[in-house]
Symmetry: C2
Subunit: 215 residues, 2 copies
Amino acid sequence: MSNPSKSKVKRVPKRGIYEREEVYALLDKEFLCHVGFVYDGYPVVIPTMYGRKGDVIYIHGASVSRLLVSLEKGIDVSVSIANVSGLVLARSAFHHSLNYESVVIFGKGSLVEGEEKLDALKVISDSVIKGRWEEVRLPSEKEMKATKVLKIQIDEVSAKVRTGPPVDDKPDYDLDIWAGELPIVKTYGKPIADTLLKEGIETPKSVKNKIGVRF
Amino acid sequence: MSNPSKSKVKRVPKRGIYEREEVYALLDKEFLCHVGFVYDGYPVVIPTMYGRKGDVIYIHGASVSRLLVSLEKGIDVSVSIANVSGLVLARSAFHHSLNYESVVIFGKGSLVEGEEKLDALKVISDSVIKGRWEEVRLPSEKEMKATKVLKIQIDEVSAKVRTGPPVDDKPDYDLDIWAGELPIVKTYGKPIADTLLKEGIETPKSVKNKIGVRF
């Protein structure tokens, strides 16, 4: 990660993380990203699912989607992933903040074809819910045609993480104002079986593994 | 919302929402957005807090931040806000999806100064935690100088919402494969008081109002 010129964390640099392994561990906890690209001269940001493998993140969608049709041309892409884990409530308005994990990627998109395409779809599926791929009906030839898969090579990446209590200015600690953290708790709830489910089908392993999991 | 040329929902158009009131109701439920802009010819996407008032969203940050210094020049901006409320698990890999609420905004940024600046900071604060602004030490002149506030005029906006069970191809309903929804539950947890809190300070109203709230 030498000289990450675009992605260098300029504000509060001590919060910056540039080691790929650490950043990838953060990336692998999430599955929703916001992809930015330049279209017709103006910026467009679109949310979509992703999965990471090696130095690449995969995204997919309908073959005709503007996002994918634009990206397959190999244009520059910026991808933002953020998870807010709590509100940081300081004594001063100024020192209010969020606890969060944020990753920003710069790279270029390219079309995924051939054998890599099905593998990429599995990577995305695993990223959302591990093991589901093995339980379902896999894509038909027609469905594969209707789907476009893109990879974004992670040329530059950096992460920013904030944890812990608020940090106030020294004199403010004497104020009669409450301060602390308010955590945001994100869990998987109880699955809701499709009302059209055939009788006698049990909740599968992939789903059971998620119930109650905090992420 | 006549002719939203940039923001028109092209994929699964029945999921598109263009009525400002409906879209604003979605915007007001969230406080984290991903702001995209063109910097030096390449796209950059950065997560940040926001608050909405009228046809404007406000963002803020350190006066020197690249995001804010770029946006105050009045360049084009795209803002993406998304909340995933569950995994949609179909019988086929192809029909897997997410339940979500997503808003995409197109507009231009401009610097907020004068009286509007403090009001804008309150709008952002209220968006994150209503009532907190009235409990804390408000910004000093020095802190105001160190802070830049920008507004993004909502020129175009559209939302996309998906709810409900998976929709599979007819023949797949006969497969012995479980299908349904796995909700994602996001709540505010128990507040963690700062260990440096003065004795005898109770949890304030703004925080109490949030505990256990699902959003």
